[in-house]
Symmetry: C2
């Protein structure tokens, strides 16, 4: 198989990996060059920087996923509508340089006239499916904008976005609660986090539950140091509350780095919902799978 | 009856009114001197400014409600716990100057160990009850932090806070949606507002529905000028979704200025929920009612 260099190029960060013929990572890099930091026209330069000094020949394939395929990215890769599988994505690559550099399209899903979109997470879902050897289930990709994807027969049938990480940041930094919360988040306080998840699941509506951070502070009912964890539990609990998880048969697949993964696993344990976790390697596996498909085609 | 000067002194604004013996407003003033603008120790000065040149004798009573009674205000007036009626509030005034200047306490309500608080809205609820001649019902006081108060037998039994106005402002000014929304809100677009209310009521969870503003923009499915109204509909719809309004027998009482009142009335019409509205005069009526009670006592 051709040599593959994989890039996960998002809004705020850029990660690159050189993979071997089995999809294993030979070397990995991370640059603070998310697409928001890249002026129009400078994508080739940042791309060269991200892949510099890596052995490449004319057969090396570069596959990119994430917001790099958006209108504000290097080259727009139109969304693939749901339902879509690995093959649909691979067939809709946006080639920056034919045969050499391609961007994986994002996906869209429309319900009752209201669209939803993702870019990069589709690749992670397909990669996680390959890593786990499954073709169905509910996948959650937590983050600034969490995605929940329903998969069956190896295809993403539907998905929805929850602005969980962004709501946390808005409340943390810009709301009245910012006066109550300590300047740094610190280590997770598991008890406070679980209290937040529990309160969100049972009382619901973040616009109401978030105010409890302030009220608990007014009555000295919670230590300030515990409050970021409590608020994190509130937003993650609010996200989980909408998923009707008790109706899900298979374990939920969490695709995330260790920090976020731990929080979602904790919350699901608390709610007695089986889950398994896959790390950031899902992206590399997804891009490697697309490359293999191209070769076979 | 003594002459009454009433002050509604909140976080971001200060309103004052001189009332006649029947509770009618003789004269009203508004100053941009919310408590956040008043350094500790300068409350007497701002108070004098707000009431300057108004005829007052030694019998004139000054009654203040709102955040002026908080720890950051002029003098802390401890919260009255629910359930509480007019008499409980009047009996718990914090006197700044005995017999002359008093601050109305706020109220607190605790459920499952989680407290909630309000200051100023309790006075509006009691005033609205007097204006409408009712002693029970569900009252909503929309705003930065909306309050929903359940009243029976003339007492506030419970209430809850929704950070509706603040969530709107956070999403409007600080979230990713701020890039999509036009710089000014403009006139309300009733159709877009109602679409937002409808989507929030049926799809729910603002962390999910808010993202639709971005997705609708990406697919050119909504004019940018309509989006602030749509987002306003989303947050107000989210607030209404949590109230289980179909179970409420009496018309909901909306206590608000004309702009917000119109939005809540529109939303409730759309949901086929009977409502009636009372304006800012509820505060004056509430403070006048307390003054009358003091006189009778």
């Amino acid at each position: 198989m051709k040599q593959l260099v994989a890039l996960d190029w998002g809004t705020s960060s850029l990660r690159a990996a050189r993979l071997d013929a089995q999809g294993g990572v030979i070397e990995e890099r991370s640059l603070p060059r998310g697409i928001l930091t890249v002026p129009a026209g400078e994508f080739p330069k940042v791309f060269a920087e991200a892949t510099a000094q890596w052995p490449a020949d004319k057969d090396t394939l570069f596959l990119l996923s994430g917001m790099v395929g958006s209108r504000q990215g290097w080259k727009e890769a139109p969304y693939c509508p749901c339902p879509a599988g690995f093959g649909d994505i691979a067939a809709a690559l946006a080639w920056v340089e034919p045969g050499r550099i391609a961007i994986v399209p994002g996906m869209s899903y429309e319900q009752e006239g209201v669209p939803d979109v993702m870019r990069g997470e589709e690749t992670q879902v397909f990669g996680a499916m390959q890593l786990l050897g499954i073709t169905k289930g509910l996948f959650v990709l937590p983050g600034t904008h969490s995605k929940w994807a329903h998969v069956s027969d190896g295809r993403i049938k539907s998905f929805s976005t929850f602005m969980t990480g962004e709501f946390y940041a808005l409340l943390r930094q810009h709301s009245i609660l910012s006066r109550t919360l300590p300047p740094e988040d610190g280590e997770i306080d598991v008890h406070a986090f679980e209290r937040g998840v529990h309160y969100a699941m049972h009382t619901g509506n973040l616009m109401h539950t978030a105010f409890s951070v302030r009220a608990l502070a007014l009555f000295d009912k919670m230590a300030a140091a515990a409050m970021p964890s409590y608020l994190s539990g509130l937003v993650i609990g609010e996200e989980l509350r909408s998923q009707h998880l008790s109706r899900i048969a298979d374990p939920i697949v969490i695709v995330a780095g260790p920090g976020l993964s731990k929080r979602y696993e904790l919350a699901m344990q608390l709610l007695d919902i089986p889950a398994k976790a896959v790390g950031a390697e899902a992206t590399w596996r997804g891009l490697w799978g697309i490359a293999k498909g191209l070769e076979a085609a």
